[in-house]
Symmetry: C2
Subunit: 240 residues, 2 copies
């Protein structure tokens, strides 16, 4: 399945006891469609409040429904803030998470002193002027293979924090928003939000130019900047 | 005050017992700022779920706070989905509603078979193809002074349903959305949503070309189309 969702009302992708999660919502609906319990696996375990324009997920279908009929059937039952964009059958060995070669995230941010009720659901408003060319240079120093331990959530430890970034950049939209994109072979927990939070601190002058390179060297989360809020973060692609 | 708000979580502008309304929220905050009860009057009594990018409101200030400080003071206490954009002092006889010369509304609509979780909070998705040039011609037949009784909510009767429309049109945005705008000396209850609902029925071929002119003649709500949902409607200007 290729899915999109507004993450505002969910405690993230992954199943949790007594919490609305996207996985739970999809499993609830697949039970309606197939008449039995089905376990769904997502490509990315998006965090509470994080959105997806393109999330991938797979499940073992107990019987065959033509692929083009699946979005129609599933969307009929799904909550308004989740939608299946397309469906396809894959080989037995396919796994939405382990077969993924690249993931892409975008983070939307804008600089304004005053609230904007229509933009803040899907972006981070920052009440400071930002040095965007500097932020762009700093972000680019993360390109390639690095140990991203300095950008790992301090309470989570993964087997390895080495990841490769293939495409990084910052674009300015017509309405003044900054769209920061990161595409890599994988992301450790909270990595994008920690990179963006650090970038913002550099852009407003609270952290010195060169901070990104230094953080890659010291491998210590405590030296990094803030964690950017989840509402500005979008999973925008998963490539196989 | 010039205000903007996301109307999703409000039962409209006007005070109601036991309901969250924008007026109640502003009055709650003015009580914090001035230390006493203050009655606020809005230019437009926007309906439940209707948004505003530019609503005007006035109140009698019990003492003088410099005008440029008012947005800062008020926004500190206001809920996240309401914001004061600016404030100014007016003459004693000014009334936000009765002094208004023109109001402008915009309605956002898009044509797509599939849900879009990121657009539907602020627009009406219609699962039909629409004949936009025809809709535009039909809308333009409302230009000038007319009796709009056919577009009045059936349960509300105002003294007169004669209004003058100065500027009407439909623009297509880059993302495919249609922005329908109506600017006039006033609007009867539900008028914009009833015009848009009727336009949609014309655009999809359920009502014949010429329906708008005929509705102006028959002055009968029962002959019109559907009422468009409130989430696509924005109050965008009030002129004095």
């Amino acid at each position: 399945l290729i899915l999109a969702y507004d993450g505002t009302n969910y405690k993230g992708w992954q199943l949790q006891p007594d919490a609305a999660t996207v996985q739970r919502e999809i499993e609830r609906v697949l039970r309606e469609v197939y008449g039995k319990d089905i376990r769904v696996h997502g490509a990315s375990r998006t965090d509470a409040g994080v959105h997806a324009r393109h999330q991938a997920a797979h499940y073992k279908a107990p019987f065959i429904i033509p692929a083009e009929k699946i979005p129609i059937a599933v969307n009929t039952y799904l909550a308004e803030d989740v939608v299946v964009l397309s469906a396809s059958y894959e080989k037995e060995e396919f796994h939405s998470r382990f077969s993924a070669k690249r993931k892409r995230y975008e983070y939307i941010m804008f600089s304004a002193r005053r609230r904007d009720p229509f933009r803040e659901r899907y972006s981070w408003r920052v009440p400071y002027k930002l040095d965007v060319p500097l932020m762009r240079r700093e972000l680019l120093s993360l390109l390639g293979e690095h140990d991203f331990r300095s950008f790992q959530a301090s309470d989570k430890k993964e087997r390895t924090s080495v990841r490769t970034m293939y495409d990084l950049g910052i674009k300015k939209k017509k309405d003044g928003s900054l769209v920061i994109h990161m595409e890599g072979n994988g992301f450790i927990y909270n990595m994008v939000r920690n990179v963006v939070g650090t970038l913002m601190d550099i852009g407003r002058g609270h952290l010195a130019p060169g901070t990104m390179e230094r953080l890659l060297e010291v491998k210590n989360r405590a030296k990094g900047g803030n964690t950017a809020p989840s509402r500005g973060l979008f999973l925008t692609d998963v490539k196989y």
